[in-house]
């Protein structure tokens, strides 16, 4: 059986922001779809969303979406992860 690597909070936050960024392009962000894509229990997803909202990275007006700060963070996060991959230092 293939062992799934444990993700730390930073990786989960990054994945959640990335998924939300992709889902924002659609009509409405459906939390169940986000939950399935992120692969976390629903109650924990709600906690992460609250935490990210508290950090000012996402906002919930009509639908969940990334703030400017969130978009900047996601861009930096993906750039650094890409840099680490290119350097041969995969972040696990």
């Amino acid at each position: 059986m293939k062992r799934i690597a444990r993700r730390d909070k930073l990786k989960i936050y990054g994945d959640l922001l990335s998924i939300l960024n992709e889902e924002t392009g659609k009509d409405k962000v459906v939390l169940t779809r986000v939950q399935v894509r992120l692969n976390v229990p629903f109650d924990r997803l709600k906690t992460y969303i609250t935490e990210l909202g508290g950090l000012g990275l996402i906002e919930d007006e009509n639908s969940l979406k990334l703030t400017e700060k969130g978009k900047q963070y996601l861009k930096e996060y993906e750039s650094v992860l890409d840099f680490m991959k290119r350097m041969g230092l995969a972040y696990q």
Binding site: L10, S18, N21, L74, K75, E76, Y77, E78, S79, V80, L81, D82, F83, M84, K85, R86, M87, G88, L89, A90, Y91, Q92
Partner: protein
């Protein structure tokens, strides 16, 4: 004979290492994990080593070359340990990495205290020890090359081939330094020019990778899709 171009190349190398340091600190800045601390420390030490070497060309003070060799070797040790621990993110490995990091720093500090408190004794030993240090640096670089190449072969992503190439060029540069240290007369010119050229190519490769990653990012997720084609 080669002093002026050599000074220029050492300064250029030091500047490039310090520019790279700015990017190498980003993985630690994002993750706050100690196992990535060796990357900025390694490149920072390499920058300092080149600066000391450049100063040594202008002011030929006894012992500056030795200090530079020691710093460069420690830099490669930092880098090698960073790569070694990058694949083992367990609590135990973090603990071991912190111990090793502390040991390297204590070792380096002890070396310098020894060098400055008993310079004659230290210099007498380091004259023969220099070759060992260069071999150690070469071994560390060989490990990094293998690690990065294996990582590239795992993903088979065209964007990950540049860093192994950069480290291979740094190894060539280090090997030429070893030849020069072992026999200053034999192939001096070839080793000298070849080594410096290889180092500049390596640094150019690292800078290119950093530039492609951080400044040529497309809107889609920040990753340059053109790189993958």
């Amino acid at each position: 004979m080669y002093e002026a171009p050599r000074f220029a190349i050492e300064i250029a190398s030091a500047v490039m290492y310090f520019i790279l340091l700015r990017y190498m600190i980003k993985p630690y800045g994002l993750t706050r994990e100690e196992r990535y601390l060796g990357l900025p420390l390694g490149f920072g030490f390499l920058g300092v080593a080149e600066t000391i070497l450049a100063i040594g060309i202008i002011y030929p003070i006894n012992g500056l070359g030795t200090v530079s060799v020691v710093m460069r070797t420690f830099a490669f040790v930092f880098l090698a340990f960073t790569y070694y621990f990058s694949k083992k993110p367990s609590k135990n490995s973090r603990f071991i990495w912190v111990i090793i990091l502390s040991a390297i720093i204590v070792g380096l500090t002890t070396w310098f205290l020894w060098l400055f408190s008993a310079p004659l004794l230290a210099l007498g030993i380091t004259a023969g020890f220099g070759i060992f240090l260069r071999i150690l640096a070469l071994v560390c670089l060989a490990y990094i090359c293998v690690h990065t190449l294996r990582s590239h072969l795992k993903s088979l992503d065209p964007t990950t081939i540049w860093i192994p190439l950069g480290f291979i060029m740094l190894s060539v540069s280090q090997y030429s330094q070893l030849i020069r240290a072992a026999d200053e007369n034999y192939l001096y010119g070839v080793a000298f020019v070849g080594g410096l050229t290889a180092r500049l190519i390596a640094l150019a490769v690292f800078l290119y990778v950093a530039y492609r990653t951080f400044y040529r990012a497309t809107k889609r997720g920040g990753i340059d899709e053109a790189d993958r084609s």
